[in-house]
């Protein structure tokens, strides 16, 4: 990691910590963001002249606190008296003086993923509040107009403030619902970056790294959440294969054809260790199952072949847990690997009989096409490839399917 990159990371670590502290009392994320931005700007002029302070976070907090109190004094808002803000800040300062700066980022993440916030905005809000992303950068990653994204973020922050969304970490009884909303928001950031198979869009592909960063914050702040650890393990496993997902010409390489020598072993090892910690907590769930599936795929790196038996069972368990048609389709694809193309074809047909929605899903047709080709049913394979291409938007994947069709 380069020095500038390291500086960026340190700033990011501080950004989310400080924002969580500054916004917790007032619930005013927007005001805290403004104050923090001014504090960082002040640091850029003061530090080169006087040298960096011993405790940069405490310096930034003190500067941001002054800005926040000044802003409150100027605005004299109806809902938040200046005295109340000062009192809240004094309480936090006592905590800061007592020991290390408290890390309230988990509470901030719970606020961003609160059920009172519209679901599609939870991930953008989290990227902005915890990582300091600009609305422009978020808009680029989610392929929406910057102005529209900015307005929606402003509205979401107003909702937090006006509705009184708390910044506390909810009690364990609320976790099944509340924690999964947090995890889903983090995973949505990862998926948005991951779904750019060409990796040509730096705004989008960078999101996988940011999501892993959020996952690490979660795992460190909520080590008792088995699903939180499961999500981190899942993302690490997938990210470990990023260097193998494209060939030298930038073409998409499916998992079973990837060169395992390109997989990042240190990430796989971290994923495995994280998943072991999760399973010791004895609370299985969707993300742990998905991580375990990726773990079974990763075993190809040292076993020579993935553990297809385990993958079939895990996808079937995932289908029962989540009712996901895609999970059942993936189970069929794994059955084809374990028991042969004929058995896989039957399983895929059974999956679409149970979930007719699969007949409108590109990977369903791609799987049928592949299995028909293996079984020597060329005409059926051609038809299935056409159906698959008709349902795919991504040019790289269409090219991949077309090449397969033409090779029949």
């Amino acid at each position: 990691m380069s020095a500038s990159r390291l500086a960026e990371r340190v700033a990011r670590e501080s950004y989310g910590r400080l924002l969580a502290l500054l916004a917790a009392r007032t619930r005013d994320v927007a005001a805290a963001e403004d104050a923090l931005a001014e504090a960082f700007a002040a640091a850029l002029t003061a530090w080169p002249r006087a040298g960096a302070p011993d405790n940069p976070e405490a310096w930034l907090f003190a500067a941001a606190k002054r800005k926040l109190i000044d802003a409150a004094r100027r605005a004299q808002t109806a809902t938040q008296s200046e005295a109340e803000i000062v009192r809240g800040m004094e309480e936090i300062e006592e905590e800061m003086a007592a020991r290390d700066i408290p890390d309230r980022r988990l509470g901030l993440m719970f606020a961003c993923a609160h059920p009172a916030i519209e679901e599609s905005l939870r991930t953008p809000l989290m990227l902005q509040a915890v990582l300091g992303f600009s609305a422009e950068r978020i808009a680029a990653a989610f392929l929406v107009e910057p102005k529209a994204m900015g307005q929606r973020l402003v509205r979401a922050k107003k909702k937090i403030k006006e509705a009184g969304v708390g910044f506390d970490v909810p009690g364990p009884e609320a976790w099944p619902v509340r924690m999964s909303a947090v995890l889903d928001a983090v995973y949505a950031a990862f998926a948005s970056g991951w779904s750019d198979p060409m990796g040509g869009d730096p705004e989008r592909s960078g999101l996988t790294e940011e999501a892993i960063w959020l996952g690490r914050v979660l795992a460190s702040q909520a080590p008792q959440s088995a699903e939180g650890l499961g999500l981190l393990a899942l993302m690490l496993h997938l990210d470990a294969r990023r260097p193998a997902r494209r060939d030298d010409e930038g073409r998409f390489v499916p998992l079973d054809q990837q060169d395992v020598a390109l997989w990042r072993r240190e990430l796989i090892e971290e994923a495995e260790e994280t998943l072991r910690r999760a399973s010791r907590l004895g609370a299985p769930g969707r993300y742990q199952l998905e991580a375990a599936i990726q773990s079974a795929h990763a075993s190809r790196a040292w076993r020579g072949a993935p553990d297809w038996g385990a993958i079939v069972l895990l996808y079937q368990a995932l289908t029962e847990l989540t009712g996901s048609p895609v999970a059942l389709l993936n189970a069929a694809a794994a059955i084809a690997q374990r028991d042969g193309a004929e058995a896989g074809y039957d399983a895929a047909e059974a999956a679409s009989a149970r979930f007719p929605v699969l007949r409108d899903y590109q990977p369903y047709w791609a799987l049928l096409a592949d299995l028909c080709a293996k079984l020597g049913r060329k005409e059926a394979a051609r038809v299935a490839y056409d159906e698959a291409m008709a349902r795919e938007q991504d040019g790289a994947v269409v090219a991949f399917l077309k090449a397969r069709r033409d090779a029949l």
């Binding site: 109806a78 809902t79 609160h114 509705a163 969304v165 708390g166 506390d168 609320a174």
Partner: protein, 117 residues
Amino acid sequence: MKYAVLVYETNDDFAAREDARAKDYWDGHGAYFGALQAAGVFTGGAGLTPPRAATTVRVRGGARQVTDGPYADIKEQLGGFYLIEVENLDAALAWAEKCPGARTGSIEVRPLIEMNQ
């Protein structure tokens, strides 16, 4: 923060106030009121008569228009409200969830505008 817990009731909820289910209906709200008071979060509230008793007034172009019934013909009508003071939205939502009307109608939670002292 201060919140209004607005109880929107279905036609059947309003009917339940007056038919064989009346005792259950009123006991349910009585127990809820008692729980809010015991927790020290109750600051006010009122039950409303059914929408059939409503009369709506509008002034348009300086002229008063009076019509029979509630302002809009919708499936669920405001049946009453509780005013509570709690720490945050989660606490308010937890109380709203316990309100008897939540199981059949809808409970809207809305913060009150805080007046300057």
